[in-house]
Amino acid sequence: MATIHVDGKEYEVDGADNLLQACLSLGLDVPYFCWHPALGSVGACRQCAVKQYKDADDTRGRLVMSCMAPASDGSYISIEDEEAKAFRENVVEWLMSNHPHDCPVCEEGGNCHLQDMTVMTGHNSRRYRFAKRTHENQELGPFVSHEMNRCIACYRCTRYYKDYADGTDFGVYGANNNVYFGRPESGTLESEFAGNLVEVCPTGVFTDKTHTERYNRKWDMQFAPSICQQCSVGCNISPGERYGEVRRIENRYNGDVNHYFLCDRGRFGYGYTNLETRPKQPFTYQGEEQVSLNTEQAVQTASDIIKSSTRVIGIGSPRASLESNFALRKLVGADNFFTGIEAGEQQRLEKMLQILKTSGVYTPTLREIEKYDAVVILGEDITQTAARVALSVRQAVKGKAREMAAVQSVAEWQIAAIQNIGQHAKYPIFTTHTDRTRLDDVTAWHYSAPAADQARLGFAIAHAIDPSAPAVKDLNDELQKKADFIASALKQSRKPLIISGSQAGEMALIDAAANIAKALKSQGVDEVGMTLVAREVNSMGLTMLGGKSLDEALSAISEGADTAIVLENDLYQRVSAQRVDQALDQLKHLIVVDHQYSDTSKKAELVLSAGSFAEADGTVVNLEGRAQRFFQVYDPSYYKPDTLVLAAWRWLHLVSSVNNAQASDAASLDQLIAEIASDMPQLAGIVEAAPNADFRIHGQKMARSPHRYSGRTAMRANISVHEPRQPQDQDSPFAFSMEGNNNPKADRNEVAFAWAPGWNSPQAWNKFQDEVGGHLRNGDPGVRLIEVSNQGEYFSEIPASFVATEGQWQVAANYRLFGSDELSQRSAVIQERAGQQAVTIHPADAKLLGVNEHATVSFAWGGQQWQLPLSFSEHICSGTIGLPLGTNGLPASLAGQMIDNLQEGHA
């Protein structure tokens, strides 16, 4: 700690900070542009100048850039000094000399750091009266718009994109008063994290293109604290709604998880919530004709179906909330509840859960991953399967430069100095995959091989670390040397991190990862961490809830279950169409509860229109076992009274209560959560994941909209000129509309949107944190459910090495960030970004087949046929074929299967 004196007052601050951080953490307002909590200080913009004095007696002082001056003990500074104020006002005037006066048509307006800082400095009248320099803009792809004229040259974008996210196709061009930030040429930004430019840019150069189509000001939106549904990481998001549609997704700060950044799938993949094809009312069929139902009819129809059935099974979903899955389990009974996860994946998830609980190895939070100093990733291309983890791993790798700088006593925020000292130095990272990965640019060594061989390497590393770990027989010498090399690198590290997951489709990889972690622990490397990546938002939660696999559900149908209730799950995405068709055709009745109209819904006799994450509340559990609550953003029936969309758990509860065979009395979310907690001790912690519906601040609910929200009395005038009462939210502590409390200083950690007086941009998160860039003042939301204990033995089922069979190809799982997720793949911009997905084989195999690159190849499996373009990879093993699972209807269960009918052209 250090004592600093600011404008005559004494404060205790962290002496390792710079003065800007220290002042902001104290809640004092100092304007800034180029500094960012995650990007460090470079002193480029000169906006954060303050007066610094030698001592208490010095009255002259000198101007310093507060972001570049350490908050050392006994500092005397003044923010309010007249000269410093005049300087800051001049700086913003200079920065803005070329800035267009286009706030009224600029999408950043009302959400703009430049506006906030300009107001803060008091600059309000432009004196520059010459021609402004103008630029041509670039087309940067479907996600991000470019408007270079608004640039104030703070350099944050390029520091984020190149230095933080390791993107290569973005830079700064020109010199002096004429610089340009963009790609070398127009084209889609290649980084999977490009969307963060929208929030990193303090002005309107980079804006959310998906929002442009249906634009409105931030203050005219309704928000709720939410959780990204697009993978298992559980990033915190703040979706914004207007006129009954989600219009943008902003990052929601969580100091333990995603802090300032999201991946582009999470930020831009929300379009599926706005699809016209979504079921907006429950419906059934009379003959061929689709008939919409009201709540009573729908519930009665479901109840009648259930009563007339001999056995009703429920198929849950890893993309549905714990509440919905539990409500389904309650309705059909534990014996009739199935998770809806394909058997192989379910086994892997169960193994992962077992490891999380009993391996004795700590699972770090996303934020903590950034502090590890050696990383092994087995089998997963994490940029595709858990992208935000990859961004954290990239920061971990750069820890080497931080360490080198620390030796020379360079402060952690001196980012330019750190980069100079580091000179691209990296902590070691070792990856294995069936092909190359998107982390290739930072890996020390990468091994491309079939999953079984990757696992063998993993087992060999564990054995090299701890000889009592099972040894691998017949490992070739070269690989053995590599295993020894990696083992010694890991043993020398202080905090090694082992990453694997379920999506490589190989249990042995998870076993091997666990063995490495345990071996390190046994050798005294106590700070070893392990991260296991699951596939979907609630894969871990559903695994904790428990249930039999989808395959068993399909068997149950063939054994006589005559009715199935499918919850938010397109079964065709999981197992072969043949098996699904066979089972569904045997059913007498199929009820689907979903917010998408999927191939499974098409087979349903009754569809209950569920709410997506934007229209329902629920709890999901991420890959580290963190339960997090997402809250309903808006009530769709307010805008369209004929819309009848309810949370899936509410539908299922209503059916239960009419059916009353196994009645549940959970009428509200809190009652349901309480019931889960009492029925399932392993999930009892979810009660603490978020405040309940009774939570109040000074007797008020929390507001979902900013207090400047406008147009409410007019927005329904096309339906009726009488403004109805706002929808009442019984399930959460949030009020629809702007009515309610939104005090940034209130004791709360669920924040619908970031706003504080004078701070309208995402930089307002400063005002919610214990220290800037730290944790939320009242604790980061969410609760970890899993306590790790040490009971595990080494796993010893070491697979045999892969041997290619002529004319056969083993499927290597190539999940894609853009296109593999069941939900976001329905969004138009994601489809555009994903482009056409290809299958990958080794050129030597192609030669044998007599096909050229980019030719169309076809194959059949499980009663389905695919025709896809072909791409070559020198890195994929001969005898294997990389398939972009999840895209093009390629089901997850294809991983590891054999394909024997690959041929050129159309089948």
Partner: protein, 171 residues
């Protein structure tokens, strides 16, 4: 003078740029002088400019491939330096000094005369491709101003009436 930086989509034509073997070899040679290949990017750009007169878009890509660094880095360096030309220039390049001392000694008359003779404005190239007229700041000849360089030759104590004779030397 602010000229907008023209960022255009690389067309197929400029992709047609082929680095000559000699240039590629020279760049490789430079690359080995440095620990970080980024350090060779200025030399690489100079090599291309020397043989090609200016640096086309295709050369940025070729250099980035050769040095194994992102094209955005090469382009950043190329556009930073005013002496690296990212647009076609004339056979001869006139750089007149417009800094303080030459301002006192009357560079404005020199520029007016040059503009009149060449019928172009600073930053432009004559239609026949013979001259490109560019301002520069200080040629280190303050005691002999106004001054200008044409290619590698320095001309001092310029008077408008003698400019035609000087330009005559550069065909």
């Amino acid at each position: 003078m602010n000229q907008p930086i023209k960022i255009v989509t690389v067309s197929d034509d400029s992709d047609g740029f082929v680095l000559s073997d000699a240039d590629a070899q020279a760049i490789e040679h430079e690359k080995h002088h440095y620990e970080d290949p980024r350090a060779a990017s200025i030399e690489a750009l100079k090599i291309v400019q020397k043989s090609h007169g200016w640096v086309p878009d295709g050369a940025i890509k070729a250099i980035s491939d050769l040095l194994g660094i992102p094209a955005s880095d090469v382009e950043g360096v190329a556009t930073f330096y005013s002496q690296i030309y990212r647009q076609p220039v004339g056979k001869h390049i006139i750089r007149y000094c417009d800094s303080v001392v030459c301002h006192i000694t009357g560079f404005e008359d020199i520029v007016t005369e040059l503009e009149k003779q060449l019928k172009i404005k600073p930053g432009q190239t004559t239609p026949d491709g013979r001259f490109t007229l560019l301002p520069t700041c200080c040629l280190g000849n303050c005691d002999k101003g106004p001054t200008m360089m044409v290619n590698d030759d320095t001309h001092v104590r310029l008077v408008p009436s003698n400019l035609a004779n000087i330009l005559e030397q550069y065909q």
